[in-house]
């Protein structure tokens, strides 16, 4: 049961208030029609599923309803960093 700091509410709240929303930094391709089937499939279905420090999206479902970024260890579950979309993170491709 994680304790998550919502970067919008700036408060540390129980996981019950949030919902996980998948791997982060999977940008929707700019021009889907120009992609090969393989490239499109990679975007839709394939995931890094990283073991270790992992960037993911969470949404403050029962709070401000904002989506944000969380860097969390998928081994220890320790949360190392949270960021709002558009904020600079330690490894920020967005």
């Amino acid at each position: 049961m994680f304790l998550i700091v919502c970067p919008y509410c700036k408060e540390s709240r129980d996981q019950n208030e949030f919902s996980p929303a998948g791997e982060a930094f999977i940008a929707r391709p700019q021009n889907p029609e120009e992609l090969s089937d393989d490239e499109w499939s990679d975007y839709v279905f394939y995931r890094t599923n990283h073991k270790g420090d992992h960037w993911e999206q969470w949404v403050h479902t029962n709070g401000c309803r904002k989506y944000f970024l969380v860097k969390r260890s998928t081994i220890s579950h320790e949360i190392l960093e949270v960021a709002a979309f558009g904020e600079v993170t330690s490894e920020n491709p967005s």
């Binding site: 394939y46 995931r47 599923n49 073991k51 081994i75």
Partner: protein, 416 residues
């Protein structure tokens, strides 16, 4: 050859006239094998067994980073059924079911497959439509299935709550009589013993740290016990499939999630069948030891830690009480989590890859245990022939590119 298990051998051993053979002999890895199987869970061991038994390939090593059966094989709620919706899935699971039905004899090891039947409950009109659809599909596919109404359920399971005033009243169910449960550890050990007996090396505490690929072909693996060569490598490392794939430079359409389960303290038998409800998110059976074995849902986040959130199990306890209010004063004895890799269409990948000689069997999500013999069987043939077994064809990884998904969501709902 190992001595057979029988009444006679038990008698001799009891009288002190016989020593048992090692079911899982301690062996050192050779430097080269015909086939390496990464992962000593049920599926991996079954693959090795069928490679040796049906494909004539006995120079096989199963590499297990911990102890065999220590992953999801030993962590699941052991439900076995084949009443899947889609033809592709139902054929595969029914293949597995038929193997289950002869497995103890085949392995000379009682895996305690117990065909006590499985009820999949329906609580809404749409649930019942889905159940009708699935049961009819099952019958057409030669899978035993019937739809029962709430009165029939109550007759068979008198302790279940069929009150119309329940929050999710039970309207009916599908019932598969041949479905049931088995002893999960026994499955791993039975396959391991039988595979060893046929010459397969089962090497525990041997972690694969890299896969050697040259010019698009697999050459072998690097392990904590040294390098081992093989032209063919089958990866059956549920939970960690993505990690193993990465060693060969591959990505997979799977994500790893914790799946939780718990057991109660052992009581005298009161629940004689298996009850599953997707709508309330819980499934329960009572083991031969007497404990209620309960499966909960998966956590939505990715994780490689074998633990999940309290809210999942607590909600599941509430769900079980919806179905069985009499269990309120029964105590949870132990809870745990496994790491399942989940495919987007809730169906597995049993497939060759872009690397020649490298095969993956993964993505079983919450439904892997019941498939153990079938999965191992078709995967063994797939590796041996370098061509997908007929039943494995729909489970090719390319379906995520072509779009030929086998969407079991309609039938599977939240969890199996």
């Amino acid at each position: 050859m190992q001595k057979k298990y029988s009444w006679y051998s038990l008698l001799k051993a009891g009288l002190g006239n016989q020593e048992w053979d090692q079911a899982i002999p301690l062996v050192k890895p050779k430097s080269k094998y015909d086939v390496i199987i990464i992962g000593g869970g049920g599926h991996g061991l079954a693959t090795a067994y069928y490679l040796a038994k049906e494909c004539g390939i006995t120079n096989v090593a199963v590499l297990e980073k911990g102890y065999i059966g220590g992953g999801n094989t030993g962590r699941n709620t052991t439900i076995i059924r084949s009443n899947y919706l889609r033809d592709e899935a139902s054929s595969l699971y029914e293949h597995s079911m038929r193997l289950w039905e002869g497995l103890s004899e085949d392995l000379n090891f009682n895996v305690m497959f117990s065909q006590r039947g499985v009820y999949n409950l329906g609580h809404t009109l749409q649930d019942m439509r889905d159940i009708e659809r699935r049961v009819n599909a099952n019958v057409l596919n030669g899978v035993d299935a019937v739809v029962v109404d709430h009165k029939e359920i109550k007759e068979q399971i008198p302790i279940i709550n069929t009150s119309k005033n329940a929050r999710y009243p039970i309207m009916g169910a599908s019932f598969q009589a041949r479905a049931g449960v088995a002893r999960h550890d026994g499955v791993a050990w039975g396959f391991a013993r039988a595979a060893s007996n046929l010459g397969v090396d089962i090497i525990q505490n041997c972690e694969v740290i890299d896969i050697e690929v040259e010019e698009g072909k697999v050459k072998g693996v690097k392990t904590t016990l040294g390098d081992i060569m093989a032209d063919r490598v089958g990866c059956v490392s549920a939970g960690h499939s993505s990690v193993v794939a990465k060693m060969a430079g591959l990505r997979l359409p799977v994500e790893s999630h914790p799946l939780q389960a718990f057991v109660s303290e052992a009581m005298k038998p009161i629940l004689h069948t298996v009850v599953m409800s997707n709508a309330v998110h819980g499934y329960v059976s009572q083991s031969d030891k007497g404990d209620l074995v309960i499966g909960a849902g998966i956590d939505g986040y990715n994780s490689y830690a074998q633990r999940g959130s309290a809210k999942i199990v607590e909600h599941c306890a509430a769900a079980i009480l919806e179905l069985f209010p009499i269990f309120s004063r029964v105590r949870m004895n132990r809870q745990w989590g496994g790491i399942v890799d989940v495919c987007p269409d809730a169906c597995p990948v049993i497939s060759p890859t872009k690397v020649e000689g490298l095969y993956f069997n993964c993505g079983w999500g919450t439904g892997g245990f019941k498939a153990t013999p079938g999965s191992g069987n078709v995967f063994a043939h797939t590796i041996a022939q370098d061509k997908q077994h007929e039943l494995a064809v729909p489970f090719h990884i390319d379906r995520f590119t072509s779009g030929a998904l086998i969407d079991e969501h309609g039938a599977a709902g939240v969890a199996h």
